[in-house]
């Protein structure tokens, strides 16, 4: 369009202005990805090892990882911790969304609550992990102090040496960091729904609960799916909290796949090939999730238009 009106070819500037992005992406993202994939097939181990070779059995590392008990447990842990944080997170976020967008019951101080609920999301996760470690410390820690002084327990409880409490706390921290974020995303989704629909429902005599389940939720489907997938991809990469809270312990109970990969490669063992293989397995899982997200976020009208165009072209050609 531009080139027709002015007679100068502007298309080259499109390429020119994309060069920095493309160059940085190729160097810092694509090349490392391919390199990681390649390393997964090699015998590269040890710090500063530059003479490595493709294994005789190229899939050896993948086989080793997939049959590695720690990796299998870390994958299970990752999914379990994600589910334990996501289910309460989405439930409470939906509840708050319903309250904060209700037309009949205006809650005062909405702005304040939003700011406070979102706050944990912006604070460094590394700091949060160590803060919670301090909060649950034994025998003197704020949580134990509360439990004992309120008479809920006779003596302090050592949360962090038992598996179940540790897993619960990690899931809770994830919940605590993310519920405010999810709530704000959902609220903005609800505000994007046409008010006419709500008016119509009100005229038809729908009550608050009916309105929520039959109007809000169906109209929020895309936003909900978006939340689900971004949370899932983030959850599959969970690193900061499990790494710094208990370093995957006690007894690998909070070991996530990212912590597993880090420990394989950088925590003394330098098994880069195994870590690379594990990374690629996670990469495939995440790629599938991303593909799903892409499919969801594609411009629907544009896609339909494109299809029509193609169809028209096809028909034209056959004539």
């Amino acid at each position: 369009m531009n080139k027709k009106t002015s007679g100068i070819n502007y298309a080259k500037y499109g390429y020119l202005f994309s060069i920095p992005f493309v160059a940085a992406f190729l160097i810092f993202s694509l090349y490392p990805t391919i390199y990681t994939a390649l390393l997964g097939f090699t015998d590269n181990q040890g710090l500063g090892n530059t003479s490595w070779h493709i294994l005789d059995d190229p899939m050896g590392n993948f086989k080793a990882i997939l049959s590695n008990a720690s990796f299998k447990q870390s994958l299970r842990n990752t999914v379990v911790i994600w589910l334990m944080n996501f289910i309460p997170q989405i439930t409470i976020a939906l509840l708050l969304t319903a309250w904060f967008t209700s037309h009949t019951n205006e809650i005062k101080g909405k702005g304040f609550f939003k700011v406070v609920f979102y706050m944990p999301n912006i604070i460094t996760a590394a700091t949060v992990a160590i803060l919670f470690n301090a909060l649950f410390s034994y025998p003197v820690g704020p949580v134990n102090d509360l439990l004992v002084s309120w008479g809920l327990r006779d003596e302090a409880y050592n949360f962090l040496i038992f598996k179940d409490p540790s897993v619960l706390i990690v899931a809770f921290i994830q919940f605590w960091i993310w519920y405010g974020n999810t709530m704000i995303v959902l609220i903005s989704g609800v505000l994007g729904i046409s008010p006419d629909i709500y008016e119509a429902a009100e005229i038809d005599g729908a009550n608050g609960i009916q309105t929520f389940f039959f109007i809000t939720i169906p109209n929020l489907k895309t936003v909900l799916l978006y939340t689900l997938i971004t949370s899932l991809v983030g959850g599959l990469n969970m690193f900061d909290i499990p790494k710094l809270f208990l370093n995957g312990g006690p007894d690998n109970a909070t070991l996530t796949t990212s912590v597993f990969i880090y420990n394989q490669a950088f925590d003394g063992s330098y098994m880069y090939n195994r870590a690379a293989a594990a990374s690629m397995i996670m990469f495939l899982i995440i790629a599938v999730c991303s593909a799903l997200l892409f499919w969801l976020m594609r411009d629907k009208d544009e896609a339909a238009l494109e299809k029509e165009k193609k169809l028209a072209r096809k028909n034209g050609g056959s004539k």
Binding site: F17, S29, V116, I130, G192, D240, M280
Partner: protein, 283 residues
């Protein structure tokens, strides 16, 4: 009769709503309050009662204990600031440029390029970190801030948001008249487009800055020298044995690592919340 019943029921419901919201607000704030209060109390006071809302007078001693060991908040602050500011500048400038290329020009690969950006939107740094580390090691860029700054030039998420913002708000007529006046394309971008994109750039800058400031994984694998540690990397020192019994100092160290973020959040919370909300409606 039924009307009064309904209104009492309603009152109970409203009461429950506020109770729950206040409970969540306390849940969100309490850990930070404990952190702030305990950073001013002595180890002995914390051992007596680990939870208290009354500040102590031990801030100075805690600071001395904290800084007498490996934890160097000033160093960490400077390092984090250098990395976060530089990578934010890179992200914002080049993402706006890429978005501009996608919006303002009609080029053959425009559509495939945008599709491609959408495809790589969700790929996190973790899964490519082994290759990234080995690559940086080979070219001698470990323990170099540039390894953390330059990748920020390619930030698919920011490009996506800048494009969304630019499509409705970039008036092509102004660009055309600038062209007629003889301005070069590069100058048009720098002197006309960038100033118009300021609000979107500011929002995205806050998020880019916070994300970079909070990043733990890459600094952890790339920076091995103590004097290069960023704040999140430095905070992991507080978990070690050297601070085992120095409770007050640990809380103070934690507070110092997030103080800049608390300040940023205190000033920009409105824009941050609005920015998060913006992220949700792209669906």
């Amino acid at each position: 009769m039924t009307v009064t019943n309904k209104s009492t029921g309603n009152k109970v419901f409203v009461g429950l709503q506020y109770t729950f919201c206040i409970f969540l607000a306390i849940l969100s704030l309490l850990p930070f309050i404990i952190m702030i209060v305990n950073s001013t109390r002595s180890t002995w006071q914390i051992q007596q009662h680990a939870i208290s809302l009354i500040p102590g007078t031990n801030l100075k001693q805690n600071f001395e204990v904290l800084t007498s060991k490996t934890f160097d908040p000033w160093r960490g602050f400077i390092n984090s600031l250098i990395i976060s500011v530089s990578s934010t500048v890179c992200t914002i400038y080049f993402s706006t440029m890429t978005a501009y290329a996608l919006v303002a020009y009609d080029w053959k690969l425009r559509k495939p390029f945008f599709t491609f950006i959408m495809c790589v939107l969700m790929i996190p740094a973790q899964v490519t970190s082994i290759g990234f580390y080995q690559f940086m090691y080979k070219i001698g860029m470990t323990n170099n801030f540039l390894a953390l700054i330059l990748p920020a030039i390619a930030s698919p998420t920011t490009v996506f948001f800048m494009r969304q913002y630019m499509i409705p708000s970039l008036p092509m007529e102004i660009l055309q008249s600038a062209r007629i006046d003889g301005a070069s394309e590069f100058r048009i971008f720098n002197q006309i487009v960038l100033p118009m994109m300021k609000p979107a750039m500011a929002t995205q800058a806050i998020f880019a800055f916070v994300a970079s400031w909070n990043n733990l994984f890459l600094p952890m694998i790339l920076l091995t020298r103590n004097e290069l540690y960023t704040m999140p990397r430095m905070v992991s020192l507080l978990n070690g044995d050297i601070y085992k019994t120095e409770y007050g100092a640990v809380y103070l160290g934690l507070l110092l690592t997030v103080l800049p973020l608390l300040v940023v959040y205190f000033i920009f919370s409105r824009y941050i919340i609005a920015g998060v909300a913006l992220g949700g409606v792209k669906g």
